[in-house]
Subunit: 267 residues, 2 copies
């Protein structure tokens, strides 16, 4: 039993979709969340810069005395999971391994698609994770650089002509390949699940990286006897102003935020 | 006569559209450019964070011994021009005042439109500048938050269905108001000039904030006897990796970059 909080970080607020899932599977755990809103997005930056920013994010959470770190940002995880895991003597969870395993479990035709930011796709982290557990699977990736700005500007509905056009274009190559399983490799993408499902068709299984990772966190912390079972508080930290946090955060959480919000400086 | 370079900064590489215009009007001046690519974009951030970042950008250029600073980012200029001008004993040019004056010169019906990022529009800087010089003008602003990501993802052509849909939506209120002059209040927007002109119609004058500011810089530095007339070198600094700089930069410059590119740390 361990009453310390679980630390979660993301480049911005997209990681709150993972927090929402964590709250569902672990309602009695304290969670501290860091969103690097002063430097979001990470997805179009270089490996070097992403590694530096993610390292600062992890160090901030470690400084708060968390018992585990969840890198709820596919970009940061794809680039910096190894470095962060090596640095801390506590469990570090990424949002790449668990959805990769889930995709392998779900696929029938062994054709798996991945969508993510430019940096996530360029890192090859998902392809590598899938090759390790299913060397015979065929894997295709597509970068969807406009998905994050579209979601952040409130354009996620399947009826939005702009979203439909962009999603149709990004997903066409994956449809043509006949993938039967698609990993949403970015914590913003669950908000686009409706339009993505519609374009991919009813026979394609969608894997939400944040949801699958939350289940893995619950299972592993339980096995390591690191759960508290007595908490449920949430604290949020951001690197830009806290102004407007609640409205934007509620888009990702799908519910009122609850808990304190503070601005911090990382540099 | 002053042989020191002119310093130009922007949140990213969009300010290179202003550099291009500066090179046209002042081909014999040395220019140093700083693009804060590790923290771009500024347009969706808080006033407080923009002020801090822009202050660091200006301090970096001042440290290089420039003779003048051009804030080639409408967002940074709208929020931080006053603070930066007050801090340095050299001319500081923004990209808001000159295009506002040009719009007043061009308009016939005294109905002026402004498009920019969320932060630029929220700052009210253009509206204030226009009210000062033309209190009787009617002014309308529209935030166009998806324009920057669209341009940065190479989607700027008038034939692109996504750009047309987004631009049509953003510009509709300004068309309905009957503006006869439109200020492109973001250094990325000159790349969308084709589609913007097409939607606004041939009778609407388009004011490119970077181009007008370059003319002002040339005139004022000439009057202050601060021109060199013997230079023409360019140095570029970025805060993310220099990898990929040349390709992206050439989109904005419309020509090969020429000059050295170095990565720097500002924090």
């Amino acid at each position: 039993m361990d009453h310390r909080p679980i630390g979660v970080f993301d480049s911005g607020l997209g990681g709150l979709t993972a927090v929402k899932k964590l709250m569902e599977v672990l309602p009695r755990e304290d969670i501290v969340y860091l969103g690097d809103t002063g430097r979001v997005p990470y997805g179009s930056r270089s490996r070097e810069t992403i590694t530096k920013y993610a390292g600062q994010d992890a160090a901030f959470l470690a400084g708060l005395g968390v018992k585990a770190i969840v890198i709820a940002c596919n970009t940061a995880c794809s680039v910096a999971l190894g470095a962060i895991s090596a640095e801390y003597d506590m469990p570090v969870f990424g949002v790449v391994g668990p959805p990769a395993a889930e995709a392998v479990r779900l696929t029938s035709n062994k054709k798996i698609g991945i969508i993510g930011t430019v940096a996530t796709v360029r890192s090859g982290a998902y392809v590598e994770a899938l090759r390790m557990i299913a060397p015979d699977a065929e894997v295709w990736s597509a970068a969807c650089p406009l998905f994050v700005p579209l979601v952040e500007n409130g354009r996620a509905s399947a009826g939005d002509i702009v979203v439909r056009a962009v999603a149709g274009e990004y997903l066409a190559p994956l449809r043509e390949r006949g993938v039967d399983t698609l990993i949403l490799g970015c914590t913003h993408y669950p908000l686009l699940r409706g339009v993505i499902s519609e374009i991919m068709g009813p026979d394609v299984a969608i894997v939400d990286s944040g949801a699958v990772t939350a289940q893995r966190v619950a299972r592993d912390l339980g096995e390591m006897d690191l759960l508290s079972g007595e908490g449920g508080r949430r604290r949020y930290f951001v690197t830009d102003s806290t102004e407007g946090f609640s409205e934007l955060a509620s888009i990702f959480l799908g519910l009122s935020v609850g808990g304190s919000v503070e601005q911090v400086t990382l540099e």
